[in-house]
Symmetry: C2
DNA sequence: CACGTTCTGTACCGAGCGGTATAGTCGAGG
DNA sequence: CCTCGACTATACCGCTCGGTACAGAACGTG
């Protein structure tokens, strides 16, 4: 990142990253199709032509905003997975996820799901982009658990892909709950149950 | 239900339940806000004024369609829960759910989630209606598991509300996966993992 | 301080939205 | 068989949608 690009002409009155975060919040709260240009520009604090000059279209704006959101989320997930055992990695992943889903400073739940699970045919790309983001997170999980399997840190015959899918699905379900108003404690209690159950998957346990 | 209501005037050219099912499919595939009146009437095979005469508004149409969908789903869930043990009830619930989420004859996934997790403020009621539907299913689960707890069919100290939330969240996550194209086998493999883990919650096990 | 360039703000575009007025159609009762 | 009443079909309503033309404002450069 160069600190100072020599731009001719009038400089921008807004910070691109800042307005992208504001846009992400609107998409998050209202979904892609529920987020009108008016509500977006209002929340971003810029006018329509500025938005189009900077981002090109509503869809491109969404992609940019989601990319930013997703990179952060994926980094958080990878960080959570840096635990010495598969059990600990799963627990930290689920607990951090539950915290994030109900944290202040942004809407409840998860943009990857609220953004637009189902869209009209002309916006089908949006659903695909979100699905690809979720798949990337699941792939990171699987990678970690696959390593655990090689290290003997999972029971023999354990399908690490299926285990990753199980953990990811639980986290997505928590996102659905969070979007409907579930509290941090609600979700953590569900994680308690999950971990009590997942303990059976430790290599030592009689799984 | 009276079999024959003596209606004066011209009789309807469509069956109400049939067109409600068609409408549900469109909402399911495209979400409430992504489902336009044009796509709805086209799929339902009726004209706009017929739709409005019969159902009043797009929102009322959605409520009627969703009620029908939800009643069936809830009945299926209750039937699945009629198993002698909590473990079996959870397994049948999750397996039937995974089957339904990927069954032919209707869109993949679950209307309760795809219909509109996040909507624009003027359609916020839609999200609430869907959330209430999901909560009803979770309540049925909890009721069954709470009974199991009383029967000594769950480990002491097991929080049946949290367990119900855990099972429901997993099922919702499977719905998200199904909406993105996961296969029946993908979901059943996740259920395999879940059941292997949940076995630890059997009263006999050292949970 | 005039210039070229880029941004900002207003005002607007065609299209599609959810919803409806109106006229014609069809079946039942007198 | 005629009339009444609810249904169907066309054509339309005001409104908001995503997107843009254009004029003015603000910066770096000569």
């Amino acid at each position: 990142m160069s600190t100072e690009t020599p731009t001719p002409g009038r400089p921008r009155a807004f910070d691109e990253q800042t307005v992208l975060d504001r846009a992400a919040e609107v998409f998050w709260r209202q979904g892609y199709e529920g987020a009108s240009l008016s509500s977006l520009t209002k929340a971003m604090g810029i006018n329509r032509p500025s938005l189009y000059a900077a981002f090109g279209s509503k869809e491109e704006l969404f992609k940019r905003a989601f990319d930013r959101y997703h990179e952060t989320n994926l980094a958080n997930a990878r960080a959570a997975l840096e635990q010495p055992t598969a059990y600990a990695a799963i627990e930290v992943f689920l607990r951090a996820s539950a915290d994030n889903l109900t944290a202040g400073g942004h809407p409840a739940g998860c943009l990857s799901i609220q953004g637009g699970l189902a869209c009209s045919p002309e916006n089908a790309r949006i659903s695909e982009i979100l699905a690809a983001g979720r798949a990337a997170t699941e792939a990171a999980l699987e990678e970690r658990l696959s390593r655990a399997a090689k290290e003997g840190d999972l029971p023999d015959g354990m399908d690490s892909r299926a285990l990753a899918r199980f953990v990811m699905a639980l986290s997505e379900g928590h996102a659905v709950h969070a979007a409907a108003g579930a509290s941090r404690e609600d979700l953590q209690a569900s994680v308690d149950v999950a971990m009590r159950a997942v303990a059976a998957l430790r290599p030592g346990a009689g799984g």
